[in-house]
């Protein structure tokens, strides 16, 4: 199959060997699970249970609310111990509402769970099942999958691409999933194909995962409409836009979606979760997580119940060799720094990476020499040095003119910069600042409307008062003339 090349990109050191050959371990249930009510993009889920409630595995803990949202299910059986605000798995260290579950050792599934035959379901019904199972994008974006499926039906998708790129260093969870559970992943792909009524599916896997490619090819053998494609290993191959460009040669328009050019991308982990939801009726309550980095005693892939604290997961992997210089959720390129070991694993957690002192760069930034390395590396065709210079001097609009909104925050520019300038950090700051300004502007518009309403009301009241006073005066005058007539 003919492949296309996207511009830029980098080849970071893989660090995948430590975990790629080890089978997925299943973690024993920890004593407590901390299940956040918001693990997805969109509105938080609304709690359905009270403190002290007995719940079974797979029972609904919180229902979704709003158009873009996802429900949350009990990862195991146990008692609801607390519902409170606790530190979120987010670099800010702010809190999010969480259900603390005291687990029992039974791990008892809900009785009412039944499997369904996807071939008997309509496309809408598949999307509804996926939505009810609380499935979100497992690659890390955590966008509710059902919403994506429904949107795709409207957009007329020609081609489905399954993202097995996994271009981030250290991470091998998708790799292991494809090696060990390829049949289930392929079944998930078939269900998605049916749900979006696309003609064919391509499973794109980076060529640094030969075992995964072989396993997936074997499982796809019977199906003519599913093809496994080996794509070159280059970061950020796993980025939706760049994967689309590599296999189709089409570029997603600026500010647009893959659906605009008839392509839908889902992660292999999502396909697996969809298989579990439809074939076995099991909601999303666990996921495969890569535990890696130089500070981890025994790096490996672990199937972790949602809500297990990072501390419990790391302890299962033999604990820490040393105090990590940086604790990340996700990969080292786009992952987020975690505020503590107490935060839980969520649906979008692809990796827990504890980097040792040697693996972290502490080099101070030096002035930009305009070498253009970042321009060569940028996979979106932007000018990181110019955008950063604008942001540095507080000219955010200037950065937007140079395409800030098209930046996918892959971090290639920061990776290659010989002057160690925190380029992608500037862009993340600027995007947040622009969003805040947008919100503020929106608020100003709304409050102006309120102020205008009030002005109108005051004017109306004044007018009413004036009219009443006038009426009184004329009546008084009338009465006076009447009495005068009487006097006469």
């Amino acid at each position: 199959m003919k492949l296309f090349r996207f511009r830029g990109g980098i080849h970071p050191e893989g660090h995948k060997l430590a975990t790629t050959a080890k089978p997925i371990a299943v973690m024993p249930m920890p004593k407590y699970l901390y299940v956040p009510l918001q693990q997805h993009i969109g509105a938080p889920a609304e709690s359905e249970v009270k403190i002290g409630d007995q719940v079974a595995k797979g029972q609904l803990l919180a229902h979704s609310q709003g158009m873009v949202s996802a429900p949350v299910h009990a990862p195991t059986s146990g008692i609801v111990n607390n519902i409170s605000e606790m530190t979120a798995p987010h670099p800010s260290g702010l809190s999010v509402r969480m259900i603390t579950l005291e687990t029992n050792s039974e791990d008892q599934w809900l009785n009412s769970i039944t499997s369904t035959d996807p071939l008997r379901l309509t496309a809408e019904e598949v999307a509804a099942h996926v939505g009810a199972a609380g499935i979100v994008g497992m690659g890390g974006a955590t966008f509710p999958s059902a919403v994506k499926l429904k949107l795709s039906l409207r957009h007329k998708i020609k081609q489905l691409i399954i993202n097995g790129g996994e271009c981030e260093p250290y991470l091998t969870c998708d790799d292991r999933l494809m090696q060990e559970r390829s049949d289930q992943v392929v079944d998930g792909v078939r269900i998605i194909l049916r749900a979006v009524q696309a003609e064919k599916a391509l499973i794109a896997i980076e060529n640094n995962k030969p075992e995964a490619i072989a396993a997936m090819q074997k499982s796809c053998g019977h199906y003519a409409d599913i093809t496994v494609v080996s794509v070159p290993a280059r970061y950020p191959m796993g980025s939706e836009k760049h994967l689309i460009q590599t296999v189709t040669g089409l570029e997603v328009p600026a500010g647009g979606l893959g659906a605009d050019i008839g392509v839908l991308v889902h992660n292999v982990g999502t396909a697996y979760a969809i298989h579990q939801a439809i074939r076995h009726g099991r909601p999303l309550v666990s996921r495969v997580v890569t535990v890696g980095g130089g500070a981890i005693q025994e790096p490996q892939n672990v199937e972790v119940p949602i809500g297990a604290s990072l501390r419990d997961v790391i302890e299962f992997c033999g604990g820490l060799k040393e105090t990590p210089a940086r604790l990340l959720m996700g990969g080292p390129m786009m992952g987020q720094v975690m505020p503590s070991m107490q935060v839980p694993v969520v649906k979008g957690t692809s990796g827990i990476i504890a980097l040792s002192e040697q693996e972290v760069s502490h080099q101070a930034a030096t002035p930009c020499i305009r070498c253009g390395s970042c321009v060569d590396a940028c996979p979106c065709g932007l000018l990181p040095l110019t955008m950063a210079a604008h942001i540095r001097s507080n000219k955010l609009e200037g950065a937007v003119d140079f395409g800030l909104i098209d930046c996918v925050a892959c971090g290639c520019c920061s990776y290659v910069c010989p002057a160690h300038i925190p380029l992608v950090q500037y862009f993340n700051y600027a995007k947040g600042e622009l969003a805040a300004r947008q919100q503020r502007k929106h608020k100003t518009e709304e409050t102006r409307k309120l102020a205008e309403l009030r002005q109108q009301r005051i004017a109306k009241e004044k007018e009413a008062k004036r009219l009443a006073a006038e009426k009184r005066r004329t009546e008084k005058a009338k009465r006076e003339t009447a009495t005068q007539h009487d006097d006469d």
Partner: protein
């Protein structure tokens, strides 16, 4: 030869002059358009913190260049930047004091339900009834402090808007250049 040059330049000058004069009349920009454009950018709460009686007089003063772009306290640094861009003036805002955006909050233990605050609130951001504890709707409050000034028990105070996971953003990276 010289006459031809004089003639050419005269004709050119006159015709261009007429075109410019005509254009100035036909495409004349009303200054009030600028005033109304600026007025749209201001919060519109008529709070009077700028020293002008309301947002329209402030916008007029801004358009005439009588008021600095930093005139509006509730608008803060962001509005000052937008105004500077709109009016084409360069201004150094790095010194401008700009704390986090503030909103009013009722300290409920001290609220007597006197109703004075919601009568002055320009955006209907305070709800309550006589002898009932009042509450500020955070999303409707512009931070104009009108209510703080009339509260007899000082139970209305300005507080910075609480940061949530949704509104949290990365700080600007501090660049410590390693210059040898």
């Amino acid at each position: 030869m010289m006459l031809a040059a004089i003639f050419c330049l005269t004709v050119l000058g006159l015709s261009l002059g007429y075109i410019l004069g005509y254009a100035a009349r036909v495409f004349k920009v009303e200054t009030s358009a600028l005033v109304s454009e600026i007025e749209v950018m201001l919060p519109g709460s008529q709070c009077g913190q700028c020293g002008y009686p309301g947002c329209t007089p402030a916008a007029t003063a801004l358009a005439n260049g009588e008021a600095p772009v930093t005139v509006c306290p509730p608008g803060g640094k962001i509005l000052a930047e937008e105004l500077a861009a709109k009016l084409g003036v360069s201004v150094d805002l790095s010194d401008m004091e700009d704390g986090p955006p503030m909103v009013a909050k009722v300290f409920e233990a001290h609220c007597t339900g006197c109703t004075r605050c919601f009568k002055v609130c320009p955006t209907y951001a305070i709800v309550g009834g006589p002898k009932q504890i009042h509450v500020v709707i955070r999303d409707a409050c512009t931070g104009c402090k009108s209510c703080v000034q009339v509260c007899p028990t000082e139970c209305l105070q300005m507080h910075p808007i609480e940061v949530t996971l949704k509104t949290w953003k990365w700080q600007k990276p501090e660049l410590i250049l390693a210059l040898s």
